[in-house]
Amino acid sequence: MIDLVARRYLFFLISAIIIIPGLISLIVPPGLQLGVDFTGGTLWEIKFTKPVSADAVQQVLTAHGYPDSTVQTSAGNVVLIRTKEIRPDLPIKGQITSDFQKQFGALTELSFQSVGPAVGGEVWQRSIEAIAIASLGILLYLWWAFRKVPRPYAYGVCAIVALLHDALVVLGIFSILGRIITVQIDSLFVTALLTVIGFSVHDTIVVFDRVRENNIRHFGEPFTQIVNHSLLQTLGRSVTTSLTVIFTLSALVLFGGSSTRMFALALLIGIVSGTYSSIFNASMLLVVWETGEFKRLFSRFSPARAAA
């Protein structure tokens, strides 16, 4: 029988290796590529009938007082413009549009999104609040669900740490993607993050339930052994339940529309990470906590010891 628990520090190391590149990318500016949902501004997607150069479009925008705009071209004579806020209820938008028409010919507007600076700040605030509330809610729920176990908060905290791990993995990867293919973080990304948090706990609970059950059934056995048993027993179903979700999400990423592609990708990464963290992080942390290794680790660095 494989002893997974014995290798727990190896798994901590693996997690660190996965998280650290992303963490570095997050800390080094610009960290995350924030979409207009957060920064305010305008995102404008226009389809022209003839090929159009990004520079020419840029010039028109500069002429109307938007010099700091980014223009991207993509297949099908589509142009993606990102600028400061262009209010649709003021004449400026109509003026820019007719200039485009005069210079580049007929066009269809595919999408137009404009966010004022005040709203952008609010979305940011709301996102942080939502994530904080979700984590708190989950912590409380776990505390209640595991109330009959000695030290129920241990389960809650370990689950939260695993959850933070998953959030960091997703954020880190999207930070790196932001540098390579300019993927932007919008409110839909936050939605994916919140869903990942919910799912990560979903998975951790499956494992912890088994630990709790075995703790009662095999009372007296060393905790490391109980956890190991539980892990091996639940490995099959943890992986399998995640696999079905991974199948449907992969189909969405590969075959679904472009507007939900990044959303589905964030969910996919988060759920894979969530499965991994439930087994190799949350449970291992629980062992470290319950067996007191935590305290021993810290006592090595305590001033009392150093003085002795």
Binding site: D89, E109, S250, A251
Partner: protein
């Protein structure tokens, strides 16, 4: 067959049949006449803005940060915007007050989104102003005794013009045509307004009047004779669309407070149709893989779980049509995600079943134990998903992100329905297969040991 199983089976088949009938894309709906009770429901699929195209805006009170806006002003503003929206003739519009002195407006499928937003958000204050002895140029921005222009515009001169009459004194406004067929606005005044206007025009024959809308001059005619009958025309080189939009603004009164757009999302209709196609393809592929996987991994119970999953998909989608839930792309993604999650409960149960069977338990007992032992995990983990959905719904509510709310709603409905199908439906199927039909071969349940086991085995 056991009576309980028979009843459950009939119930399930009925629900599945009705659900499939309603869920089917080209379903004609239910039109019945049952014992004098008429049911006439079409259950159309409600498409969100990102599928149908249209615009959503957040209008906010355009006042300096230090000014407080009272609720009753916001409510009358909302009321006026609602009436204007109705006049636009959009199907399924939405006008809603939001916190922070804001109004959410959704106009699905609208043809000229920018013009429509302007019509809704413009204050619509019509003023008849004393221009003195020279006419004012059309398009001039002026400062009047009713107040200065709001953000975004500056008056041309420092002169403050006296307002004689405002749009409040209008009794009616309609689009008319002059002798050349050019659109203009025919209006009549209230008796109060007629008197005011009559007095003024009598005293000021030969002088110029300026008619302005939101501080911008539309036209500046000369007062040729006293106007005492309370009727008039505004002709200002309008297109028909402009005249119609102006009439909408005049008819329901001007807004008590100016509004500005602080957030706007427009989607053209072409993106939507393509995205739906792709989502359907992705959904079918995802579903197919899950179906195959279940059969390969769990054999007979897998087949039964697959049947339950198909019923789940039909019931959930039928519910979307019946409630109705406005479908967005994120909502469809939520639905596809929930298909992957719907089988989770079954997987937990089946894995537990396999464990019990391996431990030597009888088939019937293993099935029971599987459902019983797996239930706490299923309940806890689905509950945490529902908590997440609630938080997501609240998160989207504050800035009118109906896309996020759509996702939360579809996921939540999916989770709830999946609890029903995974447990009730699969359990009935399994019971029918094992207890009634009498299947015994363990290999059909995914085990490779001795092929048969007694029905009530040793624990």
């Amino acid at each position: 067959m056991r009576p309980k199983n028979l009843r459950m089976l009939i119930g399930i088949i009925l629900v599945a049949a009705v659900a499939t009938f309603i869920a089917f894309p080209s379903s004609p709906g239910i039109h019945l006449n049952l014992f004098g009770m008429k049911i006439n429901q079409d259950y159309p699929i409600h498409e969100g803005l990102d599928l149908k195209g249209g615009i959503q805006v957040l209008l906010q009170a355009d006042v300096p940060a230090t000014t407080t806006v009272d609720q009753s002003s916001m409510q009358s503003a909302e009321f006026i915007v609602q009436r204007r929206v109705d006049a636009l003739g959009v199907s399924e519009p939405l006008v809603q007050l939001a916190s922070g002195n804001r109004i959410i407006v959704q106009l699905p499928g609208i043809q000229n989104p920018d013009a429509a937003v302007k019509t809704l958000g413009d204050t619509g204050l019509l003023e008849f102003v004393d221009a003195g002895s020279t006419p004012l140029q059309t398009g001039t921005v002026i400062d009047t005794s009713q107040g200065a222009p709001t953000s975004g515009t500056k008056p041309a001169t420092t002169q403050v013009y006296t307002t004689v009459m405002t749009g409040k004194d209008l009794q009616s406004a309609d689009v008319g045509f002059d002798q050349y067929g050019h659109p203009l606005i025919d209006f009549t005044l209230t008796s109060n307004g007629a008197k005011k206007f009559g007095d003024y025009t009598t005293k000021n024959v030969g002088k110029y009047l300026a008619i302005s809308l939101d501080k911008q001059v539309i036209e500046s005619p000369v007062i040729q004779q006293p106007i005492t009958d309370g009727r008039g025309q505004i002709s200002g080189q309008f297109t028909l669309q402009q005249a119609q939009d102006l009439v909408i603004q005049l008819r329901y009164g001007s807004l008590p407070i100016p509004l500005k757009v602080v957030d706007s999302q427009e989607v053209g209709p072409t993106l939507g149709a393509q995205a739906i196609q792709q989502s359907i393809v992705a959904g079918i592929i995802g579903l197919g893989i899950v179906l195959a996987f279940m059969v390969l991994n769990y054999r007979l119970p897998g087949v039964l779980a697959d049947l339950a999953l198909l019923i789940y998909a039909a019931v959930t989608f039928a519910l979307f049509r019946m409630i109705p839930v406005t479908l967005t792309l994120a909502g469809i993604a939520g639905f596809i995600l929930s298909i992957g999650m719907a089988v989770d409960a079954n997987i937990l149960i089946f894995e537990r079943m396999k464990e019990e069977l391996r431990a030597g338990r009888g088939l019937h007992a293993s099935i029971e134990a599987g459902f019983e032992r797996a239930w706490p995990s299923i309940r806890d983990s689905n509950f945490s998903t529902l908590i997440t959905c609630t938080i997501l719904y609240w998160f989207g509510a504050t800035f009118g992100a109906s896309i996020i709310q759509g996702f939360a709603l579809t996921l939540a409905i999916g989770v709830i329905v999946s609890l029903f199908t995974a447990i009730l439906v699969t359990r009935t199927f399994l019971s029918v297969v094992v207890d009634d039909i009498g299947v015994r071969k363990l290999s059909l349940f995914g085990l490779h040991e001795p092929t048969e086991v007694a029905r009530e085995g040793v624990a």
